[in-house]
């Protein structure tokens, strides 16, 4: 190859590179590029991709929890006493529920989860029940809590045909079969290991370990599948020091076993590895795209996409 051609080739590479980065800079494409980079770089910190704002005429008002069932995103739109449903791009496709105490009505719709059939379970903190709807939003029945254990259901998740629900006033986590039979009970009021004050969220990892956000004690407690206490995550080195959490709420585990905890009053999401070592934080107080303002509910889908309800910003933010 002639020297001249080599120089031409090199300079064209330089020119193209400059043009590429200039284009990103001048056309503000950074937010579009970041998710693509994140997709390739699996080990990286999740970045903000988009937000779901709800119907223009009735935007989300105090969205408290979010879940993904099949390819749709379900949000408990708490102050509007309803559930709003979105597709992945954020287009509202459905909403159901209204204020009240009767079938299909809500007073404080909170934890939301789906079963394998695509039915939607919604915990109502004030009505003290869990309503079950079909995927079209039609009320089917109340969850048959055979022992009438539920007093103030908060966080709700379904894993492997088991329903995990936190009871805020009872300071307990109940595990039910989907037919309503209670199979396990964890906690009780207190600050000791294994106890709770106002547990607000629950999740389960691939090893069937149970993670409970113990909001009043500013920590996340981890239990084995039999409900035996294992350890605490609270932001301190080994979970034994003073907590750095401020009103922790949503909790979720990704496919790598990393744990994500929503810090409501610190307006961020703290991430920890399997061993509880801090990894990074997302969010921070603000109204900009990648910021959060009193975030609450958190859901991570099977592609490790994070959905977090951002109550004051009236949206569900998506990080990937």
């Amino acid at each position: 190859m002639k020297k001249r051609n080599v120089y031409l080739l090199m300079s064209s590479i330089v020119a193209l590179s400059v043009a590429f980065f200039a284009a990103i800079y001048f056309f503000n494409l950074e937010s579009k590029i970041k998710p693509i980079v994140a997709k390739v770089d699996q080990g990286g910190t999740p970045v903000f991709t988009n937000a779901l704002y709800g119907d223009f005429n009735q935007p989300l008002s105090k969205p408290m929890d979010v879940t993904k069932i099949d390819e749709l995103i379900y949000v408990s739109d708490t102050s509007n006493k309803q559930v709003q449903v979105f597709d992945q791009s954020g287009t509202p496709v459905l909403k159901f529920g209204k204020e009240g105490t009767k079938e299909g009505e809500f007073k404080f719709p909170y934890g939301i989860a789906g079963d394998k059939e695509g039915n939607i379970y919604v915990a109502d903190l004030y009505n003290a029940n869990i309503s079950i709807f079909d995927s079209k939003g039609k009320f089917i029945k109340y969850f048959d809590d055979k022992e009438k254990a539920l007093k103030s259901p908060g966080g709700l998740r379904i894993f492997k045909n088991k329903l995990y629900v936190t009871d805020i006033k009872a300071n307990k986590v109940y595990v039910f079969n989907l037919d309503g039979k209670k199979v396990m009970e964890i906690g009780g009021p207190g600050a000791d290991e294994g106890k709770f004050i106002a547990p607000n969220a629950v999740t389960v990892d691939d090893d069937d370990q149970i993670y409970v956000t113990d909001s009043g004690n500013n920590r996340v407690e981890i239990f084995d599948k039999d409900g035996k206490f294992i350890k605490i995550i609270n932001g301190s080195e080994d979970g034994k020091g003073a907590s750095t959490f401020l009103n922790p709420r949503g909790v979720a585990v990704d496919s790598k076993g990393n744990v994500y905890v929503v810090n409501n009053l610190a307006h961020n999401i703290s991430a920890f590895d399997k061993d509880g070592k801090p990894l990074f934080e997302l969010g921070g107080m603000g109204t900009e795209n990648d910021k959060l303002y009193l975030p609450n509910g958190l859901f991570i889908d099977d592609r490790d996409t994070l959905f977090v309800t951002d109550t004051i910003n009236q949206r569900v933010s998506v990080f990937y």
């Binding site: 120089y7 330089v14 020091g241 401020l246 990894l279 990074f280 107080m285 603000g286 004051i312």
Partner: protein, 392 residues
């Protein structure tokens, strides 16, 4: 050509270098946040004396605090308190909505309720763009008039000498005054004037029994205690002064409503007033510590509805639902019927009352006015209406 070659190579090198350095810079650890200013340093770990700190929800700030940033934005606030506009109510309600179990302001409590979903609800409508100056019974324009009614109009989330974090300053002035040398004088800052009858909430026995969680006690309030407080003034009067800070005209003696009777001072103004008050109306006495004379005797602080109000016999909707006739049939078979009975039909609404309609008047004055006409089942041994016991 060699010059060109050097130029291009150098440029290429620089470009690569800058790209890598940018990446390296971006990878520089966890960005500092409000609770974690640096790696391994967590605000809140250590108290002012180097000891492990305990958690207290309101107040108890450390000298190296960074908690301010959790609620305030130093340079990008959207109101004069550097808060995000319209964010205050949501901020308070992120805990006080029932998701912490205790101190749920939407559930009935000693302060009434903020739940507006029932019949006859009325409340101090925080988060509704209502101005403090629009308070009924407002005497005169003063600072703080145009401020919006918020949770912080009455409560201080940063801590207070008063029970229930009630403000020492309301509508821009120290509300509490006591007589010094015959002149109403504002009490010194940091003086506890609002003392409430607080008892441990039996619903939270286990939590209250805990030690080592920063002294968190969940209590129930039954209004002002009714004991002599700072400078021998009864705390019921301080309580009424608190309300009178915005509802000036309603803080008065019954007989001040004439020009011949000089008003001894509007405590809410913080300065002694000796001017003659030309007042066309008379008011039920509110500046006395006797039963039925403080604001808290008849009104809730937060709000009311059909399910929290009582009738003159002291019965609530819950009580009515238990009532049975001689044959054992329910007198009020449905919640709906009971709530209808308890509906306040007053033209101006239920006005945050503890009793429906004018039942509170009847509960106190009934036996004197309707002498011998009241069914004895609604009276106690002292010929008083059964509802009277609920009046502070």
């Amino acid at each position: 050509m060699s010059k060109v070659k050097l130029g291009f190579s150098a440029l290429f090198m620089l470009l690569l270098l800058s790209m890598f350095s940018a990446v390296a810079f971006a990878e520089d650890g966890v960005p500092p946040t409000s609770t974690n200013p640096g790696p391994g340093i967590h605000v809140g770990d250590i108290d002012n004396f180097g000891k492990q700190s305990t958690h207290r929800t309101h107040g108890n700030f450390q000298n190296n605090t960074n908690s301010c940033a959790n609620c305030h934005s130093t340079h990008n606030g959207e109101d004069e308190m550097l808060l995000m506009k319209d964010g205050e109510y949501e901020l308070c309600m992120s805990c006080h909505d029932g998701t912490m179990g205790f101190y749920d302001v939407t559930a009935p409590s000693g302060a009434g309720t903020f739940d507006d979903s029932h019949l006859s609800s009325s409340m101090h409508n925080v988060d509704s763009d209502l101005t403090v100056g629009s308070a009924p019974g407002k005497f005169a324009s003063k600072s703080g008039d145009t401020a919006e009614l918020e949770c912080s109009s009455c409560h201080n989330p940063h801590g207070s000498a008063n029970d229930r974090l009630l403000n020492e300053t309301v509508a821009g002035k120290v509300f509490a005054t006591s007589s010094v040398g015959g002149v109403p004088t504002p009490v010194p800052t940091g003086t506890k004037t609002i003392t409430l009858e607080l008892t441990d909430d039996p619903a939270f026995v286990e939590i209250n029994a805990l030690t080592g969680t920063g002294g968190l006690k969940i209590t129930k309030s039954n209004g002002p205690k009714g004991l002599a407080g700072y400078n021998t003034v009864n705390d019921k009067i301080y309580y009424s002064q608190f309300c009178g800070a915005c509802h000036d005209d309603y803080f008065a003696k019954r007989n001040v409503g004439s020009s011949t009777n000089p008003i001894p001072g509007k405590p809410s103004t913080g300065s002694p007033i000796t001017a003659t008050h030309t007042h066309d109306t008379y008011t039920h006495t509110t500046n006395s510590a006797s039963q039925g004379r403080s604001c808290a005797a008849c009104h809730y602080a937060h709000g009311t509805d059909a399910t929290t109000m009582r009738d003159a016999a002291g019965r609530t909707v819950t009580d009515l639902l238990q009532l049975k006739d001689a044959e054992g049939n329910a007198l009020f078979p449905t919640q709906e019927k009971a709530e209808k009975y308890m509906t306040d039909i007053s033209e101006k609404g239920s006005s945050l009352k503890k009793f429906t309609n004018m039942a509170v008047c009847f509960a106190c004055h009934g036996p004197n006015i309707a002498k011998g006409q009241i069914d004895p089942q609604f009276l106690n041994g002292s010929n008083q209406m059964l509802g009277r016991q609920f009046i502070k």
